[in-house]
C-alpha cells in the first residue's frame, strides 16, 4: 500500500468519532482552564474600582483597534485553511493539503509580525509592561498567547515538511495531524476572547 492509500485508509477507518486522542484533550482543556482563570482575573481587576475601570477603558482606547481586528481575521482565515488542509489530507490529496497548511503558517507568521509591530509601537510610545495595570495584563496575556501561536506554527511546519517527504512516520498519522489542527483552532478561539476583552470592551 503506498503512502497516500495508507493515509486514506487510516483517516477513514477510525471507529470512534473522538477527534484526536483523548489524552490530547486533557492538554487542550488544561490550557483552556488556565486561560479562563486569566480572563476572569482580567475582568475582576477591571471592575475592582472606578479608578481601575477608567485605566482599563483608557488602555483599550490607546490600543490599535485596526491591528486587533486584522489579527482576528488573519487567525480565523488560518483556522479555515487548516480545516481545508485536514479535509484534503483525509481525501489523500497531499499536495493541496501541504499548500493549505503552508497558507495557514503564512497567516500565523502574519499574526506574529503584526503583534510584534504592535508591541514595538507601544514601547516607542513609552508604554511597557510596567506602565499600568491594563498594560501589565495586556503584555502578559498576549505574550502567553503569542507563545502558543509560535508553538502552533512550529507544529504546522513539522506536519507540512514531513508530508512533503511523503514517507509515513509518527508526524503524518491522522492522530498527530488532527491533534495539530485542533491545537491551532484552540489558539484561534483563545484569541477571540482576548480580542473582545482587550480591544472591544471600552
Amino acid at each position: 500500500m503506498d503512502f497516500v492509500a495508507a493515509i486514506k485508509s487510516d483517516a477513514l477507518n477510525i471507529k470512534k468519532r473522538t477527534p484526536v486522542e483523548p489524552d490530547f484533550w486533557v492538554l487542550i482543556f488544561g490550557d483552556l482552564t488556565v486561560f479562563s482563570v486569566l480572563f476572569i482575573a482580567f475582568m475582576l481587576r477591571r471592575f475592582e474600582s472606578a479608578e481601575t475601570h477608567t485605566v482599563f477603558s483608557m488602555g483599550t482606547e490607546s490600543l490599535n483597534q485596526s491591528i486587533g481586528l486584522i489579527n482576528t481575521l488573519v487567525l480565523l482565515t488560518s483556522s479555515y485553511a487548516v480545516v481545508l488542509a485536514l479535509s484534503y489530507y483525509r481525501s489523500g490529496d497531499l499536495n493541496k493539503m501541504i499548500k493549505f497548511t503552508c497558507f495557514a503558517i503564512f497567516c500565523g507568521l502574519g499574526f506574529v509580525c503584526l503583534k510584534i509591530f504592535e508591541y514595538i509601537e507601544k514601547i516607542n510610545q513609552g508604554i511597557t509592561v510596567t506602565a499600568d495595570r491594563f498594560f501589565e495584563l495586556y503584555f502578559t496575556f498576549t505574550g502567553i498567547h503569542l507563545l502558543h501561536v509560535l508553538i502552533g506554527i512550529s507544529l504546522l511546519t513539522i506536519v507540512a515538511y514531513r508530508m512533503s517527504l511523503k514517507k509515513p512516520d509518527a508526524f503524518t498519522t491522522p492522530g498527530f495531524v488532527e491533534g495539530v489542527t485542533c491545537y491551532w483552532h484552540m489558539v484561534d478561539l483563545l484569541w477571540l476572547i482576548l480580542f473582545a476583552l482587550f480591544y472591544l470592551l471600552g
Binding site: 483517516a11 477513514l12 477507518n13 477510525i14 470512534k16 468519532r17 473522538t18 477527534p19 483523548p22 484533550w25 482543556f29 483552556l32 482552564t33 479562563s36 480572563f39 476572569i40 475582568m43 475582576l44 477591571r46 471592575f47 475592582e48 474600582s49 472606578a50 481601575t52 475601570h53 483597534q65 481586528l69 482576528t72 481575521l73 480565523l76 482565515t77 483556522s79 479555515y80 487548516v82 480545516v83 481545508l84 485536514l86 479535509s87 483525509r90 485542533c182 483552532h185 484552540m186 484561534d188 478561539l189 477571540l192 476572547i193 480580542f195 473582545a196 472591544l200 470592551l201 471600552g202
Partner: protein
Amino acid sequence: MIKPNSKQQCSMVFGVLVLITLGAALLTEVSILPIFTNHGFLECILISLAAVKIVLIAEYFMELHDAPRWLRGTMLTWVMATTAVLVSIVLFGGQTAMTSLA
C-alpha cells in the same frame, strides 16, 4: 467510518465567523446609541458574541458536533461557564465600580 465536515459547511461557518467579528467591531463604534447607555449592556453582548464564535469553531472546525457526548459536553460547559462568569463580573462588578465612582 468517520464523516469529515463538508467544505461547504465549513465555508459557511467561516463566513459567519467573519461577519460576527466585523459586527462586533462595528458595535463598539455605535456604542453612543441610547440602547448602549445602560452600563454593561454592550460588554455583555461582546462577550456573548465571542462565546458564539467559540462554539462555532469548536463544533465545526474542531469537529465536536459529532463527537462523543462527554467531549462535546465538556467543551460547551467550559464555554458557558467562562461566559457566565465574565458576564456576571460585568453586571455585578460594573455596579460596584459605578457606586464607588458616585
